[in-house]
């Protein structure tokens, strides 16, 4: 659990640090704010976001220190003095200081003008915050060749922060411009033309009662400026992507070592997942890049919606990167490496397990829930496979019903109700040693971290099912309740990528989880497909079929899940 918490905190810090550095670059390079120039509302908003993200990053980084200290603590207390002398504690505390300094500088600059020194200090603190992350990565712990790895890691993280953080600020900027258009009023179109420009269509698309106000970039005083902003970001993002790809490629070469490591280790598979997600983001970015260069009217709304999806997938990639820090590099895993055949066997179709082993046998043979895992009994494997296979039936049914809904069968819209059945099934089966099947009582079992985690997931599934069913049957408005589905899917997919079963054997752990990785990726794709379906009606039926196909694929993968 501590490992999972550590990964979540590290992922959160990556996201927040990206908002910080991406925001500083956005303010200085894209919006061209700086000494002597009056701050625009857009620059002020960016600085506020930088300040808030830096403050949150300081808090999250301090939490990682606390988590490690608690883990190291024993009956004699927390080893504070020794811990304070470690590389990790020192680097983490330096990052806390840099984050606090960045927050204070951003607040000051957003309130009143300042000279070049304050702006340079802001840039240096933000750069230091992100660059120092390398000192908390695999690079610092390597026995040989640390200097090069630290340099590559810092370059990789800085480039990712500029890109992903910049995307977040682009989306926020679009929101600000759209609000400005709405505040002028849809009726006063002539005034709006002087304010809205590029993002007027966005404002129109968010206001269901009004038809979008169509304007061509370049026809209004602001439109050229907005296109300039997007074009500058496009150029910065291009350089950032090139840098992070180059540095990432070299890091992969050093940490993975050979092709077998890419397929036969958890580290390698996570790298492949990152590459796949990155490829999809880059495909969307390439479409946007072309749209920006052409400045076509029909491409502008799509540009923003694609940017939202790029951002969402980018955040998933950052969490996958955080997950990588908790895994031993593939190049080190030589004894516990799986072969391609062993991995392929986990995806080979087989008859699903439809009968469950008796719960009494499981309770008798398995280790107590709180005891360290040292073995996995066949009965535990059978229990887990049965659970996965029935969950697969539920998800497959949902996907097929959703497909029927798309084909015009009205009853298919009730597919979210299958989630209620899935939630009830998981509640009963997830924790056989807890109430109602096992000896641990209902409230008592909440003290068990695994049970707590599983029940939280059950509540999420229930919420997902209820909200989506109410949206589909017209009981709740699509906005905002329709967003529960894509956001939960995206978050769930990200959590699956970062989730880790701690087992006694690296190879067993990897082979058990190797099917979780595609599930996580499909979850993220399903979520963002639905997001596009909601946010970009002009995209046609593609996004809707995408998430439907992802649901079906998730169901099929669960049906072939096996642990041995």
């Amino acid at each position: 659990m501590a490992g999972f918490l550590d990964v979540l905190l590290r992922g959160t810090i990556l996201v927040l640090a990206s908002l910080v550095l991406g925001g500083v670059v956005w303010t200085r390079v894209i919006l061209r704010a700086g000494p002597g120039a009056a701050l625009t509302p857009a620059a002020r908003l960016a600085l506020h976001v930088v300040a808030a993200a830096a403050a949150a990053a300081a808090l999250a980084q301090a939490s990682t220190v606390l988590v490690a200290l608690v883990e190291l603590g024993g009956p004699e207390g927390w080893p504070v003095a020794e811990f304070a002398r470690t590389t990790f504690a020192r680097a983490a505390l330096v990052r806390v200081g840099l984050a606090v300094a960045t927050a204070l500088l951003a607040v000051r600059l957003s309130r009143r003008g300042a000279g070049p020194r304050a702006w340079h200090a802001l840039g240096a603190a933000a750069l230091g915050l992100v660059g120092a992350s390398a000192v908390l990565s695999h690079a610092v712990a390597r026995v040989d060749g640390r200097a090069l790895l630290l340099l590559l890691d810092a370059a990789h993280q800085v480039a990712a922060a500029v890109w992903i953080g910049g995307l977040a600020h682009l989306v926020l900027y679009a929101g600000l411009r759209a609000r400005e258009v709405r505040s002028v009023g849809a009726g006063a179109a002539s005034t709006a033309n002087h304010v809205g420009g590029l993002f007027q269509e966005v404002a129109g698309s968010d206001t269901r009662d009004h038809a979008p106000v169509q304007t061509i970039a370049g026809e209004t005083p602001n439109a050229g400026g907005e296109m300039g902003v997007v074009r500058r970001f496009s150029s910065v993002a291009f350089v950032a992507v090139m840098t992070l790809s180059l540095a990432g490629g070299l890091l992969t070469w050093r940490y993975v070592g050979d092709w077998a490591g890419l397929v036969g280790t958890a580290y390698g598979v996570m790298v492949l997942s990152k590459v796949l997600l990155l490829a999809v983001i880059l495909a969307l970015a390439a479409l946007n890049f072309r749209a920006v260069r052409r400045a076509s009217a029909e491409g502008r709304l799509r540009l923003l919606r694609f940017a939202e999806v790029e951002l969402g997938l980018g955040v998933t990639v950052l969490f996958a990167a955080a997950s990588l820090t908790s895994l031993p590099p593939a190049v080190d895993v030589t004894a516990d490496r799986a072969t391609v055949g062993e991995v392929a066997a986990r995806f080979r179709p087989a008859v699903p397990r439809l009968t469950s082993p008796p719960v009494a046998e499981l309770i008798e043979k398995a280790e107590p829930l709180m005891a360290p895992v040292t073995r996995r009994e066949p009965v535990e494997r059978a229990w887990s496979e049965y659970n996965h296979h029935w969950a697969g039936f539920f998800v497959l049914a949902m996907g097929l019903l959703a497909a029927l809904e798309r084909l015009g069968v009205r009853a298919g819209r009730n597919w979210p109700l299958a989630l209620l059945g899935l939630a009830a099934f998981l509640f009963l089966r997830n924790d056989p040693r807890a109430w109602p099947l096992g000896p641990a009582g209902f409230w008592e079992s909440f003290l068990l971290p695994d049970v707590l985690q599983h029940r939280a997931f059950v509540v999420l599934i229930l919420a997902f099912g209820v909200f989506e069913w109410m949206v589909r049957t017209g009981r709740l408005p699509v906005r905002p309740w329709g967003y529960v589905f894509p956001l939960l899917c995206a978050v769930g997919g990200g959590l699956l990528l970062t989730h880790s079963h701690a087992m006694f054997n690296l190879k067993d752990e990897f082979l058990t989880e190797v099917t979780h990785t595609p599930l996580g990726i499909l979850g993220a794709f399903a979520g963002w497909g639905r997001w596009l379906e909601l946010r970009l009606p002009g995209a046609g039926r593609g996004p809707g079929w995408l998430w439907t196909a992802c649901l079906i694929a998730v169901g099929l993968i669960l049906l072939v899940y096996r642990e041995g």
Binding site: M1, A2, G3, F4, L5, D6, V7, T64, L66, V67, A68, V70, E71, L72, G73, G74, P79, E82, F83, R85, T86, T87, F88, A92, L136, S137, H138, A139, V140, A141, R142, V143, T325, S326, L327, P328, P329, D332, V333, M370, P372, V373, L447, P449, D450, L452, S500, A502, L506, E509
Partner: protein, 123 residues
């Protein structure tokens, strides 16, 4: 009331952080005695070799006999390669022994592990 909830939430977070197995970041690449080995003479020292640098002052090693009783062990904190942990072992009796270790890798991951070895009875 709000402060109480915060304290409860914070406490729950710490409990969650403190329990459960650790992430598998630092990897035990080898050891002396080797995991699963059967020895004919009592080993004088223990050496654990990891895949990365570790913070030795915050590393712990326990030696337990077949009944699970811990035996005294002196871990060497200063000197030696950054990826190795060594300790002086007391004279061991014949039977099964277990090593339990916990290390902090330089990049901040706390990792635990254990392995067994046997000491064959002397004729």
């Amino acid at each position: 009331m709000i402060a109480r909830w915060w304290r409860l939430a914070f406490g729950a977070g710490l409990v969650l952080a403190a329990v459960g197995p650790a992430a598998a970041h630092s990897l035990l690449l080898g050891s002396i005695p080797a995991a699963g080995a059967t020895l004919t003479a009592s080993p004088r020292r223990l050496e654990l070799r990891f895949n990365n640098r570790i913070e030795k002052s915050l590393s712990r090693v326990r030696l337990l006999d077949a009944r699970g009783v811990a035996q005294p062990l002196v871990v060497t904190v200063d000197g030696g390669p950054a990826d190795r942990l060594t300790a002086t072992l007391p004279p061991l009796a014949a039977g099964g022994w277990r090593i339990e270790w916990q290390v902090l890798s330089t990049d901040g991951h706390v990792v635990t592990g254990r392995f067994e070895f046997r000491l064959a009875p002397t004729d």
